[in-house]
């Protein structure tokens, strides 16, 4: 086996009240893709931040290519050849693609920035990644997926020996993931060591050579991917049986209850579509990123205005001008974009949780403090929100727990239709199972759910029927019976419903 390019021994890191890393060993070989596995809060992010110089370590040592190193900051780590692409794209969206790739290390000619050269080199670089885009356009012009690829291009270009990809695929569709994997394999051949973090187990098994598993800040072990079955991996990550997930595998019987929502030829930023949702029914929306899933959700919630068609909720024809109007009709919408459309980071868990309820009551009728505390305690327990401190600022919670708080914000309102846009994206296996179980319970209790997810097996497991989208058009509506499989769904997406 080749000599490790990176070796971390006995790493310890403590935060006030938390031992985030406890004697963790980790090594990375040149020319391998190595997956770092663990639930939210297992210590993956901390380990990465230690490695990239964001945090200093309390104990242990780091060796890079045989030399002992201690990074004083991210810049030093970058100079030593460790480049990182973080989960949330860390670029300046108002600058051009080329500027983003070269920011802080612009090519110069006679002391002035050589814009032409910068654009040329960026174009070349992106062409290597099969991404022929206009590099002079601002980054915000492009989808989140392309922004992600630009971030990777930037990292690659900084002569990395070690490339860290922290959840790079969470916002990419299948085609883009394949594209990313092609790039990763090419980099692997060049001898670059790639540290890969993802919640998608299938992706791990497709691309990773080896993996290291963490749990509660401790090392569980280092494994060769091909020798560790998925079930064992999940067991090692969460340390308990996955009985709950399996119980969900029975198909829910079709609903025959009253129609709650009836959209006919409703259109706006999506082509006009017709869709009915019954009380207690879970309707899955399947389709690639950008296929119009979120746009449908926003139309039903009044966040965008309908240009055509009619919408009936509970039998009444309605025109939704604001989210508030939709809420008055019993519609709730949990956005996929937690950071921009969900969280109010400076407020506490309690305040975030009661926000929609308070908004509905208006400023003059505060939710009594006692009632707030009861509600918050109830949902913290019901959804297993950690840490269970309602007065903590929500920005200090992990992604999965933030998601649960936002979910609770809407559950408090007891909506008739709950729209969940990618509720399980970027959160760990345990939390995912909890949220899936919750959806089943809510629908059994009579709540209609519109469930949007990029993971087809999740959509299949929960939905009574599935609506398939492609290119901003609803192309098929399929009952979830025995004939429907993820393969059928994928085929429908690929063919656009045309047989």
């Amino acid at each position: 086996m080749a000599e490790a390019i990176l070796r971390m021994t006995g790493i310890g890191k403590e935060f006030p009240g938390v031992r985030a890393l406890d004697g963790v060993d980790f090594r990375l070989l040149p020319g391998e893709v190595h997956a770092l596995m663990g639930e939210n809060g297992a210590g993956k992010s901390t380990l990465i931040k230690v490695l990239t110089g964001v945090y200093s370590i309390d104990s242990g040592e780091i060796e890079l290519a045989g030399n002992r190193v201690a990074f004083a900051g991210p810049l030093e780590a970058q100079k030593a050849g460790i480049s990182t692409v973080y989960q949330e794209v860390n670029l300046c969206r108002n600058l051009s693609v080329a500027e983003n790739v070269f920011i802080g290390r612009e090519p110069r000619k006679f002391g002035r920035i050589d814009w032409r050269e910068m654009r040329r080199r960026t174009s070349d670089l992106l062409r290597q990644l099969d991404l022929p885009i206009d590099v002079a356009k601002p980054l915000s012009h492009y989808s989140l997926a392309i922004q992600q690829m630009v971030a990777i291009a930037r990292a690659i270009d900084i002569d990395a020996r070690v490339l860290i990809l922290d959840e790079p695929t969470s916002s990419l569709d299948a085609g883009e993931v394949a594209q990313l994997f092609r790039v990763m394999r090419r980099l692997k051949e060049q001898g670059i060591a790639i540290l890969f973090v993802s919640h998608f187990l299938d992706q791990i098994y497709e691309i990773a050579d080896r993996m290291t598993i963490l749990r509660n800040g401790r090392l569980v072990g280092e494994y060769v991917t091909a020798e560790l079955p998925q079930v064992e991996l999940v067991g090692k990550m969460i340390g308990r049986e996955l009985a709950e997930l399996e119980r969900l595998d029975e198909r829910p019987p079709a609903r025959t209850s009253d129609t709650l929502v009836e959209a006919s030829e409703l259109g706006g930023r999506v082509a006009p579509f017709s869709l009915t949702i019954r009380e207690g029914e879970v309707v899955g929306l399947a389709g690639l990123l950008g296929s119009g899933r979120t746009e449908i959700a926003r139309l039903l919630f009044g966040a965008d205005h309908a240009a055509t068609g009619t919408l009936r909720i509970g039998g009444d024809q309605v025109t939704l001008r604001t989210p508030r109007a939709a809420m008055a009709r019993g519609v709730a919408f949990c956005s996929e974009n937690r950071r921009e459309e969900g969280l109010v980071p400076e407020l506490t868990v309690r305040e975030n949780l009661i926000l929609a309820l308070q908004a509905r009551r208006g400023w003059s009728r505060p939710v009594p403090r006692k009632k707030q505390d009861e509600l918050v305690a109830k949902y913290i327990k019901a959804l297993n929100i950690r840490p269970d401190n309602p007065e903590m600022l929500i920005r200090n919670l992990s992604g999965g727990n933030q998601q649960k708080v936002l979910l609770a914000r809407w559950l408090i309102l007891e909506p008739r239709l709950l729209i969940l846009d990618e509720p399980t994206r970027g959160i760990d296996v345990g939390a995912k199972a909890e949220i899936q179980k919750l959806v089943v319970e809510l629908s059994d209790g009579g709540m209609a759910v519109l469930f949007i997810s990029a993971e087809l097996d999740e959509v299949l497991r929960l939905s009574h029927k599935v609506a398939v989208l492609r290119d901003r058009r609803l192309v098929a509506e399929l009952p979830n019976d025995d004939t429907l499989t993820t393969d059928v769904l994928m085929e429908t997406i690929a063919s656009g419903g045309a047989k």
């Binding site: 604001t322 926000l355 308070q358 908004a359 400023w363 009728r365």
Partner: protein
């Protein structure tokens, strides 16, 4: 209230400096049934600034800013004085109340205009209110016809110069307004909604908060506070000066809000902090007079002190400067015990 410890400490320090230069600085006495003393004066002369800063606090909490408050101060004072000057008897209480009503209604209307530009038209707050900041001075001069309107009205003089229950009337107004804002924002839910809109406007909209209406109300309220402050200022000198009334008060108000610990980035706000911030600025002005800083250097002196205050307020700065010199502090220090720092 650990957040208020720094502004409170700075205020105390400034007051102590005064004690060195003025022997009876902390003395408060009752003369002819009125409270007198330097501390009372700071409150009394600081009252308009406190009012303007309180309104500004809510605007800043929504991630906005209101540059037009100085102009609104001038307009409201000018309007009130103009109305009173046309009264058959300037001492008629009904007539004065009517004039006050017209002036404040005008201020609120201007605030609604600001709110409309920000919330509905979508202009950035600094630009939207800059319009009224510039145009408002013109409007004030239009009202006074370019002159300084002088009036002689005892009921009007009460607002800025009078006493009630031994207290200066201005202090009572501030207390009432402060109590009202504290009630509406902290006992009712307005504070949470404002902080939410300031913290994340889009998330707030998707949570069903009527942010447009909320913004208009906040800007209108800020203008109302400025309007009341304008009445105090013009009442105090029994005249209206469209050019100079409330000049630069917007900057002092913004400074008071920031010193009080409310971030210009919006979100969390602190009313108590703002009051302390305004008192710090007013005390500083008093100090400049009492220690006899030469008039030509007062602005520079003020800027210097304000810079120091802001640096002391910044946790990042404190960490940098004091970390290297201070031994790790014991986890808890009993209240009232003196802490000595050895270097």
């Amino acid at each position: 209230m650990k957040r208020l410890a720094w502004p409170a400490g700075i205020l105390a320090a400034l007051l102590l400096v005064n004690l060195i230069f003025t022997d009876h600085f902390f003395q408060i006495e009752i003369k002819e049934g009125h409270l007198y003393g330097s501390l009372i004066d700071i409150f009394r002369f600081g009252a308009p600034l406190i009012l303007v800063a309180l309104g500004m606090t809510l605007v800043i909490a929504t991630k906005g800013i209101d540059l037009s408050v100085g102009s609104v101060v001038a307009i409201s004072g000018a309007m009130a004085c103009l109305q009173i000057s046309t009264l058959p008897s300037q001492d008629s209480i009904g007539g004065v109340l009517g004039a006050i009503g017209v002036a404040l209604a005008l201020a609120v209307a201007l605030g609604v205009g600001n709110g409309f530009l920000v919330a509905i038209v979508g202009i950035q707050p600094i630009i939207a209110t800059l319009i009224l900041m510039v145009a408002g001075r013109g409007l004030a001069q239009l009202i006074t016809d370019g002159q300084i309107i002088t009036i002689n009205s005892d009921p009007y003089k009460l607002i800025g110069g009078g006493y009630w229950l031994t207290l200066p009337f201005g202090i009572i107004i501030v207390a009432v307004v402060l109590a009202l804002i504290a009630f509406v924002t902290r006992r009712l839910a307005l504070g949470l909604l404002i902080e939410s809109v300031g913290g994340n406007a889009e998330a707030s909209r998707l949570s069903g908060i009527r942010s447009h209406g909320l913004l208009i109300v906040v800007y209108a309220f800020c203008a109302l506070c400025a309007g009341i402050a304008g009445l105090m200022i013009s009442s105090n000198v029994s005249s209206a000066d469209g050019n100079n009334a409330g000049l630069w008060i917007e900057l002092d108000a913004i400074l008071a809000v920031v010193i009080g610990g409310t971030s210009l980035a919006g979100g969390r706000f602190s009313l108590g902090g703002t009051v302390l911030g305004a008192l710090i600025i007013q005390t500083l002005t008093t100090t400049i007079y009492s220690i006899g800083v030469p008039p030509e250097t007062t602005l520079l002196f003020k800027a210097l002190v304000v810079t120091i205050v802001c640096l002391l307020q910044s946790p990042a700065f404190r960490a940098k400067v004091f970390r290297s010199r201070r031994k790790p502090a014991p986890p808890t220090v009993p209240a009232g015990e003196k802490v000595t720092v050895r270097t």
